[in-house]
Symmetry: C2
Subunit: 350 residues, 2 copies
């Protein structure tokens, strides 16, 4: 399954809003429509929207390739702002857009047309790196998964949330590839049902056993010893290791701690935002009330009531057993540990 | 709103499956259909299904009133078994049926026809008592609700879950009646959405401010200090104070403890089952997978996956700040405290 493809100057996205019932691919050749696809959640998942935004910049550059250099760069800046504004919490989006802009600015003496070509190559590179990075995360993380593990996950941090393979589900894939038996419990993940719609779909396609539960069942399963560990992805990780991820992650972390279960976060470097001291500074997106009051267009709640729909929450670093990255595992993350980890990895994440 | 009425030998039930979109009343004159209505959740909520089952016994007695005494009692026993089997967890169902059978057996020398009349009176008495009991629970509990309290509740322990007024929501009603300002956060309560469909509906009808959230948001709201206390109903309480209630209650109790928030259970004597030493012995109903895989008939999860759908969980007594009953409040319940409480209340609940 290739949920994100770029073919003949067209970005092709699997419409994740319709899964698992329909597998429809939508085509994009205009960055504005790409920004809208991110906003409307045709594609979601921090690494995936990063890669898609990079292709958005490449499409903008292609549209501007016959303009003069000044217009080219001001047009590119507008596309960058539009794409970054599509969703506020996942930092991979801003990371990918900034990386693309930096590449563009570095091409001194090149024509807009030449830069546009270089940007398309860079976007493809970002997508390719994402696959490789996930594979590395998976292989490091697989060591943490015992044979016959019963793994609880939340939302979808799988192939669909990335360019391929997945972060949290990449760890599951690598464990299975290493010959381990793994049973996955997937929180359905209200209101958008990424668990029952997407995680269940992509795991069942690979014959990895998956059982869906309602989000509110997680604690009871832990109490019944039906869960050995929890693993999730991330949308943004602050300098101290605090993790913004899909709403409900924080509750799971507290429940895991109360049941002495390991709680792992799997995320690439591009999800870290070391400019933020703690998770308190991470902007949390609130989405439309209708995600809770309606279901596929059908009203389920009465009119005239309040509705609160934050799309993410922040889990303090002290709840994490470890963060699994492409350069290894950071146990019980702190500001100091993250600093020295990134220094050793030779990676420049401000 | 009278969600349970008995008029001219017909039991009238508000169909809670259709709320809040449609207000449809269904009529029952056959105990078998009443048992089915309980099973299919036309009516739900521990005290409500107790009262409805009592009317079911009254309907069975009416059907048998021209039979000889032996046939009358064997027919009644069959109805009792059928009604009790409709749902396994809420003990109020068995409690009401047993109370009705005891009344029938006590009418030495009466004809089946006379007993049938007495049983109808008894069913009406059970319904009337339920209203009065809830009012008392509400008034005791109101003392625990501070002015301007932000109260989190789960499922629907309201007028719709009882004959009227409600247990957990009865406490909210009494606090509001006492002049306090109360804001209610209602977990939507997957998979059946009793929170967003029923709790939101009955509170908004009385202009009590209610905001719905997805179940997985509760922990994050507690962390944000948007919640002052949690109050829920119960389906069965064991002799040591362990509480079976709607799935998700246990997670909330653990989350409340982690955030140092009071966690209250509001329940009448009829919800206590002192024959069970601990909550481990309470039978937990598992319901149909389609509650998770489908939504109003539309498939939302892929085929060929696992699905786990326990309808209730058990919260150990040590998580409870207090149980609120019609005879007063039991703080930090233990077997000893419950024993002496029931002794003082002069109430015979084995």
């Amino acid at each position: 399954m290739d949920s994100i493809r770029f073919e003949k100057n067209i970005l092709v996205l699997l419409d994740q809003r319709l899964l698992p019932i329909e597998e429809i691919y939508l085509e994009y050749s205009d960055w504005r429509m790409v920004a809208n696809a991110i906003k409307e959640m045709v594609v979601r998942g921090a690494p995936a929207i990063g890669a898609v935004a990079a292709f958005g910049i490449a499409l903008a550059a292609d549209e501007l390739k016959d303009a003069d250099t000044a217009s080219f760069f001001s047009g590119l800046a507008m596309a960058a702002a539009g794409l970054k504004a599509a969703r506020p919490t996942a930092v991979n989006l801003a990371w990918a857009v900034e990386r693309m802009l930096k590449v563009a600015k570095n091409q001194i003496g090149c024509s807009p047309s030449q830069i546009a070509e270089i940007l398309l190559t860079e976007a493809k590179q970002i997508a390719q790196e994402d696959r490789e990075v996930n594979k590395k995360i998976g292989d490091f993380g697989a060591e943490l998964i015992p044979d016959n593990a019963k793994v609880l996950t939340h939302c979808n941090a799988g192939a669909l949330a990335t360019v391929g393979y997945g972060t949290a589900l990449g760890v599951v894939r690598s464990a299975v590839a290493a010959g381990k038996k793994v049973i996955v419990y997937a929180d359905e993940t209200r209101p958008y049902l990424q668990g029952s719609r997407l995680t269940a779909w992509e795991l069942s396609r690979e014959n990895i056993p998956v059982t869906i539960i309602a989000d509110n069942m997680a604690g009871y399963l832990m109490k019944q010893k039906k869960i050995d560990l929890v693993i999730v992805g991330a949308d943004r990780i602050a300098a101290n290791g605090d993790v913004a991820n899909k709403i409900g992650t924080y509750s799971l972390a507290v429940l895991a701690a109360a049941h002495q279960l390991p709680f792992y976060v799997a995320a690439p470097f591009s999800t870290f935002d070391l400019t933020l001291k703690t998770g308190e500074e991470i902007p949390i997106e609130e989405r439309c009330e209708t995600e809770l009051t309606h279901f596929y267009g059908k009203r389920i709640a009465p009119e005239g009531i309040g509705c609160y729909n934050p799309s993410f929450d922040v889990t303090p670093a002290n709840y994490l057993t470890a963060i699994i990255t492409e350069a290894g595992i950071i146990y019980q993350p702190t500001t100091e540990k993250l600093q020295s980890f990134f220094k050793e990895a030779g990676h420049d994440r401000r």
